[in-house]
Assembly symmetry: C2
């Protein structure tokens, strides 16, 4: 029997992979990867058979039970089996179902943690998620996980958790922004609460849009549709105000040009 490694591939940039993950990939026999994993990371598994499973972090394309079974079967035939997930496996990575399946089948496994997207987004912004005197709690939440339809009570739960923490990072699915803003306002956040949308964190074509909670639905529509996070909190106030000032200056400049 081989061993299965559940590996966090990090937020996007291939060099934000850990040394341990790179070494395991180098000797991997077979790799099952999500589609959010960078091709250069997958290429590190030079000798392995590569199997794409799953479309996007929170959507399901390959059935989870199929993946569970495939991992167990691969461990029978191969020494080093890798399950490669975007970000960190233990934060919205649906790792528990695979861990439970491996444990039930008596397959040896190891989790290799990775850099989760929120930390890369914070690094891109140059804004710390915690700050002395301003934020001693940061929550990572998602309004919907996979095909979970027991949404109603739990949705209010996540919104309450977001409103109670000083900083929040939403690992969101697309199309939720209007519902999301409404849920957060009913949980106690004000419309002027600072927010930043971070798209494709850590990648060269990454985008950051600072706005207020009220502006969020409109701004989300302006994004390109890549994987995105929303960060909320007072730690972002200067970032949001600087962007508003820059926009106002831009408008004044356009008006001046128009008046000339």
């Amino acid at each position: 029997m081989g061993k299965v490694y559940l590996i966090g591939a990090g937020p996007g940039a291939p060099d934000l992979l850990t040394l341990r993950a790179a070494r395991i990939l180098d000797r991997a026999d077979i790799v099952f990867h999500d589609s959010l994993v960078h091709p250069e990371v997958i290429a590190l598994a030079a000798h392995a058979r590569i199997v794409a499973v799953g479309k996007r972090c929170s959507q399901i394309s390959t059935d989870q039970r199929f993946i569970n079974r495939a991992l167990v079967e691969a461990a029978v035939r191969h020494e080093t089996v890798v399950r490669l997930k975007g970000g960190d496996p233990m934060i919205f990575g649906r790792a528990q179902e695979e861990i439970d399946a491996l444990a039930a089948a008596g397959v040896d496994f190891e989790i290799v943690p990775g850099v989760t997207a929120a930390l890369a987004a914070s690094a891109d912004l140059g804004v710390s998620l915690t700050r002395r005197g301003l934020s001693r709690s940061v929550v990572f939440a998602t309004p919907r996980i996979g095909d979970d339809q027991s949404a109603d009570v739990e949705q209010r739960g996540w919104a309450r958790a977001v409103a109670a923490a000083e900083t929040a990072v939403l690992y969101m699915t697309r199309g939720d922004a209007t519902v999301l803003t409404a849920a957060l306002k009913s949980a106690g956040l004000v419309g002027t609460h600072p927010a930043v949308i971070v798209e494709r964190a850590s990648l060269p074509d990454g985008q950051r849009i600072a706005c207020t909670l009220d502006e969020l639905p409109e701004r989300v529509r302006q994004t390109t549709g890549g994987p995105a996070l929303v960060i909320l909190g007072e730690v972002l106030r200067e970032t949001v105000e600087a962007q508003i000032d820059a926009a106002a200056e831009g408008t004044q400049r356009s008006q001046k040009t128009a008046n000339q």
Copy 2:
């Protein structure tokens, strides 16, 4: 003028460093590091002058203003300046003060995210921090940050944030466990709430103690005093119950032996 890299050294194990961090360390001229950073990580900066600053993640030994000034001065004299912090710089790493000082001095800088301790602790346990149908929010909080003495209102704030999230990870300072348990119970958690103390996450001599919230103060006293996290939440219920069952079995075995 050189460039300053604020780098997350990861949770402890040296091979949980990112590839990017390793490459920057290899060409670093000077490295300022916290004492929680593994010696093998520091050794990657083979050509650099090494300066130890700061004792433990949440305590201050070297004055923060001194570190800020030292980073700016180093950037005048060196091409590649590294500030190496345990875990990730943007989660309880006090990065903002250094970022602001660098920005104010016009020094070019870059943040390199790292694997934060909570993710390594979750990997060690084999328990995902989020789980479909059980947890769609995870909060990272600390009851006290550095020398911040505006504690009272904020302390209640973090306890409320912890109680509102489905999973919580406390990046705690030592000696707080009794206050911590009382604060969390007054914020709404029950005494039987599942908890696990994870000491020295990701390291070979790491220790994990599963218990309930009520048992936490006593169990924290049994730890060795190394860097520790406390994880709380329903995702841990099976882990805690398995440990209680194992302990009960152990007691029965001892009693049988005594009766023989």
